[in-house]
């Protein structure tokens, strides 16, 4: 089957078309293509299919960002309220502190504040006043019993008579013996030192050296003075305290009755 011969009209149209197709043809620009695709996608409500698809994480982030906007706004409001309250709170605190009763206005303060102040004063450790001076005997002799063992005799002891120096040395020796007996061998070297420290003062008294003093001689003298002053209770207390540290030491005969009395 052959094609029909072209009519003169068809030949004329073909000639015109051939010439027309040599004309440069306008084409839509890439920008126009993109604009059309975006406009159509917006019209349809989807994304342009030719654009690179964003991965799921990006889309999820975009959805989260859209959803996060209301949350962000709410969070901003909460933060603003919080900051506002924080700004107001120091003022309230300052007012309360400035109105608090001071120690000067304590007497005029209401009862609860006064009670609190008294309770605090009772609980808080107050600075202790300096202790009263230790009891010193009327004589110039130092209280040998209260001195540390290693300490040398006070200067006043140098002026003491020889028999008193001998008693002082004996008292220190007895105290050192008692401590060494409690501390065992650790203090075994301390007692000779105490004796040596006391020895120079006792050396000018040869009589005292010849007759060894009884242990607790100074204490006994103190007790005797108290008895002479009719302060029997004080004497008994001192004797009792001495006996606690010298359980086996012999007691002078004139003080045995006092010890018997102290036991009862």
């Amino acid at each position: 089957m052959t094609a029909p011969d072209p009519t003169p009209e068809d030949a004329a149209l073909r000639e015109v078309q051939e010439a027309y197709r040599d004309l440069p043809r306008a084409e839509p620009s890439a920008a126009l293509d993109a604009r059309v695709r975006v406009a159509v996608a917006a019209e349809v409500g989807t994304e342009p299919a030719s654009t690179p698809r964003r991965d799921s994480r990006v889309l999820a982030f975009a959805r989260w960002r859209r959803a996060a906007l209301p949350f962000a706004a709410a969070a901003a409001v909460l933060v603003a309220i919080g900051v506002n309250q924080l700004e107001q709170r120091p003022e309230m605190h300052y007012v309360a502190r400035s109105d608090a009763p001071t120690s000067r206005a304590l007497e005029s303060a209401p009862a609860p504040a006064k009670e609190i102040h008294e309770e605090r004063a009772r609980l808080e450790p107050t600075p202790t006043p300096p202790p009263p001076p230790a009891f010193r005997p009327p004589t110039a002799r130092a209280p040998v019993i209260d001195l540390p063992v290693v300490m040398g005799p006070p200067p006043a002891a140098k002026a003491a008579p020889a028999n008193e120096a001998a008693e002082l040395a004996a008292a220190q020796r007895s105290r050192a013996d008692a401590m060494s007996s409690r501390a065992g061998g650790a203090m075994s070297e301390v007692a000779p030192m105490a004796a040596l420290s006391a020895a120079p003062t006792a050396s000018p008294a040869p009589a005292a050296v010849a007759t060894p003093p009884m242990e607790g001689g100074a204490t006994f003298e103190q007790i005797r003075r108290l008895l002479a002053e009719h302060r029997r209770d004080a004497a008994r207390a001192i004797l009792k305290r001495w006996r606690e540290t010298h359980p086996d030491a012999p007691l002078p005969a004139d003080l045995k009755a006092l010890e018997t009395d102290a036991r009862h």
Partner: protein, 205 residues
Amino acid sequence: MALYSTAMAEPATTPPPDSDEALMLAFAAGDMAAFDALYERHRRALYAFIARLLTGREAAVDDVFQDAWLAVARSRAAYRPTAKFRTWLFQIARNRSIDLLRERRPALASELASREDDADPFESIADPAAVMPEVALDRADKAAAIARALAALPAVQREAFLLREHGDMPLEDIARVTGVNVETAKSRLRYAVTKLRAALRGIWP
């Protein structure tokens, strides 16, 4: 198919896959890839048609082109494959062009929208500056001559020729797009071709 053939194949109820109509139905169902395929197929022809139809108003070509595709998108739900997609697309572009011309050149718009055939097409040449050379023999000169002659054609004749050339439409489709009967479409096309051929031979105008 003869150049002046009136044969027009009506699309089947179920268009073959990968046809324009099937793609349009897919796009109506939300498939943007189908739209991209349609766009890629027809973007050059439609743009060239609008650019020639609106000769001298290049600034409006992009807007008409975009509006035409937007109208396709907006009308996608109402689309029925009773006519060829290409015919429908060019008809939309033509209507947009007339809308634009109504705003800027009402006389030209009314000419395009007229359903009456011209009594004397040679008297309705709009562009007096379209001076035809007396002799145009080589190929480049022929192209330049036909460009000037096309611009000098009456709008309805130019439109008929452009629909035939860019839309690859038979007379029935040209008649459908322009809203005239087939004989009127055939007459417009014949006048257009005669003048353009005369221009190529340097005898018009």
